[in-house]
């Protein structure tokens, strides 16, 4: 394989990895605070992209303004998901709440297919110019740079948010033990609501980054969701730096495997990597085994 192919594989691996990481970040965020695995995370992004081109862009805003409006709307949608779907009857247990998100994902996909399915695929305008530029002799496109940049900035903002702000601290407290957090005066319900709003906003941002790359269609986020969960697990499910690293590793491995092996065997290879990581470090790269006392 030539160095150009290698470089291109690495670059697209990093870009994909950044997307997996960001989506995985939203998943870990919800999982840490509520022990719910949000299977609807991908479809939130898909709906966000549709809302953008169907409702917001026709309003005539500049594209970056439309993006911000869409992300905010998606956040509100996330809050509604929590209030209507997950808050009622929480006694059913975490696994049941996870299943509700699975149902929501199916429903969101079905509705999007019904309303917009006939005309797909759609083209989505990109924030970044559709051109390539030379970087150290390798061509890299502007939207690849842009995607990684946005992912990086968002990740840094979120990490700082959790480490240095009051709400971030409260979220970490709720993640460790909601009952004790409640005793300490934290309004757990409000925190979880904020978590869902933020995660949905992240989901929309990821969807808006992916959609312009080629076409927007209802099945847009499906391949990304499993990869995001894989990244989350590889990173240890409870660790933000873990999922970021896991995502990038996953993206690069996948890309290299597609180059070296045939594309069809890529999925099998990625599965092997996941198994390997889990066998060597069952709690993930940065995770640690939580021992419960009986």
């Amino acid at each position: 394989m030539s160095s150009i192919q290698l470089a291109s594989a690495l670059i697209s691996g990093v870009v994909n990895g950044a997307l997996y990481s960001l989506l995985g970040l939203a998943i870990v965020l919800i999982f840490r605070t509520t022990a719910v695995a949000n299977f609807a995370q991908g479809d939130i992004g898909m709906l966000g992209a549709f809302v953008l081109i169907m409702f917001i862009v026709p309003l005539g805003l500049p594209l970056w303004g439309a993006w911000i409006v869409t992300v905010c709307l998606s956040g509100i949608f996330g809050g509604l998901i929590y209030l209507c779907l997950l808050k009622p009857r929480p006694i059913a247990g975490h696994l049941n709440l996870t299943i509700r998100t699975l149902g929501l994902s199916t429903l969101a996909y079905a509705v999007a297919l019904y309303v917009w399915g006939e005309g797909e695929p759609y083209r989505v305008p990109s924030l970044f110019p559709r051109l390539t530029t030379e970087l150290m002799g390798f061509s890299i496109s502007y939207d690849q740079i842009g995607t990684v940049a946005v992912a990086l900035v968002l990740s840094i903002i979120l990490l700082a948010f959790f480490r240095f702000t009051q709400i971030g601290l409260a979220m970490r407290a709720v993640a460790i033990n909601p009952d004790i957090a409640r005793l300490q005066g934290v309004n757990v319900n409000r925190i979880v609501l904020v978590v869902w709003i933020v995660a949905a906003g992240i989901g929309a941002a990821v969807g808006l980054l992916i959609a312009p790359i080629s076409f927007l269609e209802t099945a847009l986020m499906r391949p990304y969701l499993l990869k995001a969960f894989t990244a989350a697990i590889m990173g240890g499910l409870y660790s933000f730096p873990g999922v970021l690293l896991g995502g990038v590793i996953l993206g690069i491995t996948e890309s290299l495997a597609a180059m070296w092996l045939s594309v069809q065997l890529r999925e099998a290879f990625v599965f092997l990597v996941l198994l390997l990581v889990l066998l060597l470090r069952p709690a993930g790269i940065f995770g640690h085994i939580i021992r419960t006392r009986v």
Binding site: P121, T132, S214, F215, M259
Partner: protein, 388 residues
């Protein structure tokens, strides 16, 4: 006891005779019932269902003019959501419950394979799906007729044509990983070798992963004169978008009939001006001879736009109606099959001539070479025939 038995049998016999004035399934004095399974929902629905629209539009006009020998055509299409499993279920329902006269139309290689397994060996005609599935007609089946040349046949026809036109030294080919890809890739390899063109890449792309970046990088590196893209229209468009991003294009792009679809045109027009050549089964909606089909479509539903797929629907409906007309008032499945088999050199006006035969179940004998000029499809030369 015996008397009762006689009465019952007499009653039964009368009942059977009376209710089956036309013993043929799906045919009554006033109606011909056709059945179909198509992807009405799902990612390919936007292109696949357009075929059905074209067919329904054509039938509407025929019915309004009185039908064929006094019978109106009723075409029932069930949704298979592009799943072979659902398609098989639909076929069983159409044959066993609704008792249709013939299976007509439909779209997609995946579902066509399922329908084939359910209808092979029966006496029900299965006609003209939009599917380039080898097994449909190779080996030929008594009751199955196709109007879509196999992708391998299309490739074998277009490659020499393109090579003749631009005399490339090198070529690269990227194919989608669907059934039959070995067939067309071999056809391309043979034709390129015969013309002395070096094939530098022979890549296979996974159907489900739409990113094309890796392949474009490979192509850009080798910089072939001729690029063959054998994939669906949206995926080929993605390929071109990626080429634009990487700032590279070959001297000529060719493929099979999927490149004559408007989805590809819309996405590719800016980068593909003048450098695309693809074989088309049916004339584009912009051609003057296509006017009837386009008018039928807007009379059927104003908001629909004509496309390569609606034109194909129009074509297949036209051929079917002609065959039904030729059979005459006494309509049976066997007679329709015989009439189709005897069809020779039928000029539809919007495609090459249609001929079937005892061992020939694919009727399209010629294809038009399509090019892209000023953002529109244009027929750039006389029809290309197939050499078997």
């Amino acid at each position: 006891m015996i008397f009762n038995k006689m009465v019952y049998s007499a009653l039964a016999a009368t009942f059977i005779v009376a209710s089956n004035a036309y013993a043929e399934d799906g045919v009554t004095a006033t109606e011909i019932l056709l059945g179909g399974s198509n992807a009405a929902t799902g990612p390919v629905a936007s292109v696949c269902y357009a075929v059905t629209h074209g067919q329904l539009a054509y039938f509407k006009r025929i019915n309004e003019a009185g039908g064929i020998h006094g019978r109106k055509i009723r075409y029932e299409v069930l949704d298979d959501a592009y799943s072979a499993q659902r398609a098989i279920g639909n076929v069983r329902r159409l044959l066993q419950q609704d008792k249709v006269f013939a299976l007509f139309g439909g779209c997609g290689t995946v579902t066509a394979a399922g329908i084939l397994s359910a209808v092979e060996g029966t006496s029900v005609p299965y006609l003209f799906p939009y599917a380039g599935l080898d097994k449909l007609i190779d080996p030929p089946k008594q009751n199955i007729f196709a109007l879509m040349p196999l992708y391998s046949q299309q490739t074998a026809a277009i490659v020499p044509f393109v090579v003749d036109k631009i005399h490339p030294k090198t070529a690269a080919m990227f194919s989608t990983n669907i059934a039959g890809h070995e067939g067309w890739r071999q056809a391309a390899r043979d034709r390129l070798q015969a013309a002395g063109v070096k094939l530098v890449i022979d890549g296979v792309m996974e159907v489900t992963s739409p990113e094309r970046a890796a392949f474009v990088v490979q192509a850009k590196e080798k910089d072939p004169d001729l690029l063959l893209i054998m994939d669906t229209a949206p995926n080929a468009a993605r390929f071109l978008i990626e080429m634009q991003r990487q700032n590279w294009k070959p001297r000529m792009i060719a493929g099979y009939s999927t490149l004559t679809d408007e989805t590809f045109l819309r996405a590719a027009a800016e980068n593909a001006e003048g450098i695309v050549l693809a074989p088309g089964i049916v004339l584009p909606p912009t051609a003057p001879q296509s006017k009837q089909c386009v008018d039928d479509l807007s009379a059927y539903k104003k908001e629909l736009t004509a496309s390569h797929f609606t034109m194909y629907g129009c074509l297949t409906a036209h051929v079917l109606v002609e065959a039904l007309r030729r059979v005459g008032p006494d309509l049976t499945q066997a007679k329709l099959i015989a009439t189709l088999e005897a069809m020779k050199g039928f000029d539809t006006g919007i495609s090459g001539k249609v001929s079937f035969g005892p061992g020939q179940r694919m009727g399209m004998q010629e294809m038009y070479p399509f090019g892209i000029e000023k953002g529109q499809f244009k027929i750039v030369a006389a029809p290309i025939g197939f050499k078997k």
